[in-house]
Symmetry: D2
């Protein structure tokens, strides 16, 4: 393909079309996008056909990572507000954009099919020329994990990224680790759920048991949950207490406080009520994100294994082991996922008092 | 996201990492790739969140179009040789890369899911600012259609691209239209199939009928085909004669000569023989390409319809009508697809003489 | 595979496991499911390997059609209530199940990939033995189309199903055509949207224009819409009047009354408000259903074309033509899809009066 | 849905249509297929809407398992022949059907999307009623694993299936374990590859080294491989010797002999030659099968986890743990997958002598 670029083009000032209005080619900055592929094998005079694919697919991934940041940043901004207005479209916007993140991740998983059309021997044709460059150096991806809520201490191979990335990119990731993550903002948002401590709402609530310092609803729910356990599941009540009953401040290893965990479980249990529908969709989208990220790591791992076997990757380590460990450890919303262990049958759910029901619904005509 | 670019970076000379070897960030030219998104709505001070998606998805499409050109160019180069060596890996390379084209097209179809997360009202937020830029101006896509074999005269809205594209891009597409397309090279390759006119091969071939100027095999096959037709299908024999029997030179409207059509049908019929396996996979890959291109146009059309309804697109015309007409007309390998109307049951297939069988197989030990 | 059935098994009374409780094999009635494949080619002593695939894939389709009926029936039942309680989970259940229908349809589209592994010649091996059986005879699919809202008079080849199906199955489809379809129930539900004629709500609504017999909101919206039209779009205002302004009773060709169309457009425009979120998701799910059905017909059509070309199908007609006509005509929720032609930019949307806003939101604490 | 069955229907004798020829409804045995759904929750008078989905999806899986057996049986039959004729379509048929198996498995993975539309609470509505029935009891799946090559001793939870399945189904799985599996037949077929020990073929082969009892080609390849290893990879040569050099009989833990492993590696290295193209596609299809089975187990595991968390499954054990262990252990063609650790760069591949090249190609004209 010929070089069709405008020679005088400047990266940060997109040219104005001289031909009367915006042009697709300029709008999309195609001179830059399409002139950013420089195979190393060409430079070595050992042109390897498949290196172009290797470059283009990684560039496509990075483009989409940029878009994922664009969506995530906008979500973080809304979630950072001291109070989300339930009667505004804000929450819907959050859910819509999280679902878009899921849709993008699905395509990124599918894109691995394309990489798999490169055979191990085609890769060997240029692998050695890329050293020590490596996909581990995708700072955008690490920054994204951090924004979503992956803590440095939970990261597999944490020394690794500090040794592999440039200082400017380490700084970017570090900054994201210091800022409030989506997981932290989620915790705060969940903690703001009212109802449970508003004594007046629960006067008519029928209970089998009470617990000191525990809101009526949760003492009762604990009772119902305990009764629903099969013999071999009896120990689950300890996990229940650990997660929902024990006092703030939260366990160092936990990201969600017991108050936030309660709110999340309540959303799952009573999502049929209008006011809990979007919150439920939000929790669900987070689980989908984890699932797609996990699928991506998993298929990526299999692909790397198929490509290099037990040989070492361009970055100098066994790609597969890193990816496997990351796939097992990097579940960001794990604590949300685990709440499903604490559901009970719908027909045993406590009936909510009318005062609470009213708060969960629309204004009557 | 901060601008992380090296200020001194020059587009055509990728920097050598000062930190001891190739770096992922430089190798992929991420400074350019990730700094090529300039929403028009930002410039107008009416920032529209979804315009970033609009830019990124089109850039991702164009990146992949570049890759499709890379694969197609390499295929054209091999197919342009006066004779493909059946005992070399060349044909396998062609098939492998055509299948890669199919895999990429599948992802491009899937990618429409992402665009569909943009609602019509989100699009209205910046649609008017893009005029007259439009996806019709993707010269890479038009160039690709031309390389595969779409003729200017078969193109829907042909005046259209000459009026919409810049002269330099029109020239690119025109050049591709003048060069030998994949479809033309396919015709030439098919015409080189030997066997039918080598009289010695067919001495022992058992026939029910003969036709002047028609090789024995084809006279016999025509007889078997005619007998296989149900009453309501009887007219198919005229189509058969039109395609396989009538003399060279070919119909102006046809891309495959009768000789090439015969070779393609023979490949379909006897693909069980070793020598015809790759040729069959080649034909099949071409049909898959058409099918994916068609799915892409079809889903694209539905998406545009869902986005703008009967409103006009940014390019000034009804996007849906163009896409529908293109989806119906732009089948490039239609004549290959139509050959399946002329198959007969496997148990009625003529037995090939041993001389021909031998030519289709491996060297005995 | 050996016949593992219990000889005494009776179809309508699933056996109770003699081995202490429910068994997977009995629960799923696998004796019946796995012993329902009888290839015709076996009976003719001309065993064709691929006929088993042909049987199994059609059985899988019919199983899923049964599930689609199960979901659709439950949706129709809820939508038939004289009033859906906005504060109950009913609407959420409808949306959830419609989305499940979409998910199932996606898999059914994907399943065509499996059918495409059957080559035309493999199909010819048993095609003639199936006559006149044909996929047109899937009464479950026709019944489903009818339940969703496809009218007999809009059906392509309507005489066709009456001639092909058995009387008992025709009766099933006819009954579905007579019952209230999802489209009709949707119209009724939309017509029940309050607000527009409740004069008190609109006292503070600021307008540029008024129209007799037309609620203030819609006169104003018409004004804004007309102003948003580009010159070449000016005629759209006639379509607007046809759809939203003209009086009840509705056009014979239309399924949605002007009152219902207004409600649907209002939902699209103001879906950010809590009360309109589920209604918006409902409309969206219906469009997805149409899109998946359309994709299914389209891929099915291409597959049939690839399989039989211009030969006739087992049912005695050209499968492709029927499927193409059906794909073009059988959009059931077309009138919902067309509403996007009548949107305007978000920043030009009329501000709703506080009285209306309040009705669209949650009870304040 | 009404019961539309013919009352007199007998399971093993499909009825002949009284209305003049085969009918779709009878051909597909829809009376049986569509009347095999009996929700337990209905019997308990606690009708749970989603149990129908649970039944139908498992029946769809079992239908497809039957088809997978149909394909696998036909493949085993061909592979069992003492010698596959390279000049016959047999090998192509094997590859074609293995690829069909892959296509089916892909749809089965996708089908999990449908199951995921069932929420944990919807499942709780009927979970307890199914005990102790469980998906572990799918004898068809276990039989399939055995036919492909999963040995009883490699099976995770091996005591488990003997305790869960009925004796008649255990017998079915046991028989499959005793018969020659696809993996064993693959080993035998690979061992029959000629060339290496035919001294005359290698007279002109240029070598850097020789090894006693090792064919020239493999001594030379070992030399090239050793030289290609980076420092940290040096130990790979021990694995190389273990797999390719050590004598027959094979390691008890290995499924492929060193002779078979060599043949498989040779196919991968020289797949460009016509005669090795189908063998390469065969190996590739086996890896795809493992990958899809692995994806299926992995997504299944995630789905189960999302559904029941740490609660126990209907079969009385933690579904997730079993599935995770199975996903990690049940790679059937692992030894093929690992061969990619022993590839070298294409430009360092030994040149084959003309005598060998000739054997790998077609008869010259």
């Amino acid at each position: 393909m010929k070089d069709l670029s405008n020679k005088s083009e400047d990266k940060h000032t997109p040219p104005v079309g001289g031909d009367g209005g915006l042009h697709y080619h300029d709008y999309l900055q195609l001179d830059k996008i399409l002139n950013s592929q420089f195979p190393e094998s060409d430079k070595h005079g050992l042109s390897a056909h498949d290196e172009m694919l290797f470059i283009v697919i990684h560039q496509a991934y990075e483009l989409w990572f940029k878009q994922l940041h664009h969506e995530t940043d906008s979500i973080l901004k809304i979630m950072s507000k001291p109070a989300l207005n339930d009667n505004s479209p804000e929450l819907q916007t959050v859910v819509h954009r999280l679902n878009r993140v899921v849709t993008i991740l699905r395509v990124l998983v599918h894109q691995i099919d394309i990489m798999e059309t490169m055979t191990p021997m085609d890769f060997l044709d240029f692998r050695d020329m890329l050293r020590p460059a490596s996909g581990f150096q995708s700072w955008q991806f690490k920054e994204l994990e951090a924004k979503l809520g992956l803590k440095f201490q939970h990261r597999h191979g944490k020394e690794y990224y500090t040794s592999q990335l440039r200082q400017e990119h380490i700084d970017v990731v570090k900054k994201a680790e210091l800022d409030k993550s989506l997981l932290e903002l989620l915790n705060n948002w969940l903690e703001r759920m009212p109802f449970f401590n508003e004594e007046d709402n629960w006067k008519t609530f029928s209970v089998h048991t009470r617990m000191e310092h525990v809101p009526s609803f949760w003492a009762e729910y604990r009772y119902q949950y305990q009764n629903s356990l099969a013999d071999v599941e009896k120990d689950n009540i300890d996990a229940f207490d650990e997660i929902f009953i024990k006092d703030y401040p939260i366990n160092q290893e936990k990201s969600l406080s017991s108050i936030a965990s309660r709110a999340a479980l309540f959303i799952m249990l009573y999502r049929g009520y209008p006011m809990l529908q979007l919150p439920f969709q939000l929790l669900n989208a987070l689980l989908e994100i984890d699932e797609q990220l996990s699928s991506w790591r998993y298929r990526h791992m299999n692909m790397v294994h198929r490509m290099i076997g037990t040989r070492i990757g361009t970055g100098g380590s066994s790609g597969k082991d890193y990816l496997k460990a990351a796939a097992d450890k990097h579940y960001i919303f794990r604590e949300i996922a685990q709440l499903n262990s604490f559901l009970i049958e719908r027909r045993k759910l406590p009936f909510l008092p009318p005062e609470v029901e009213k708060r969960l619904g629309f204004v009557a005509a």
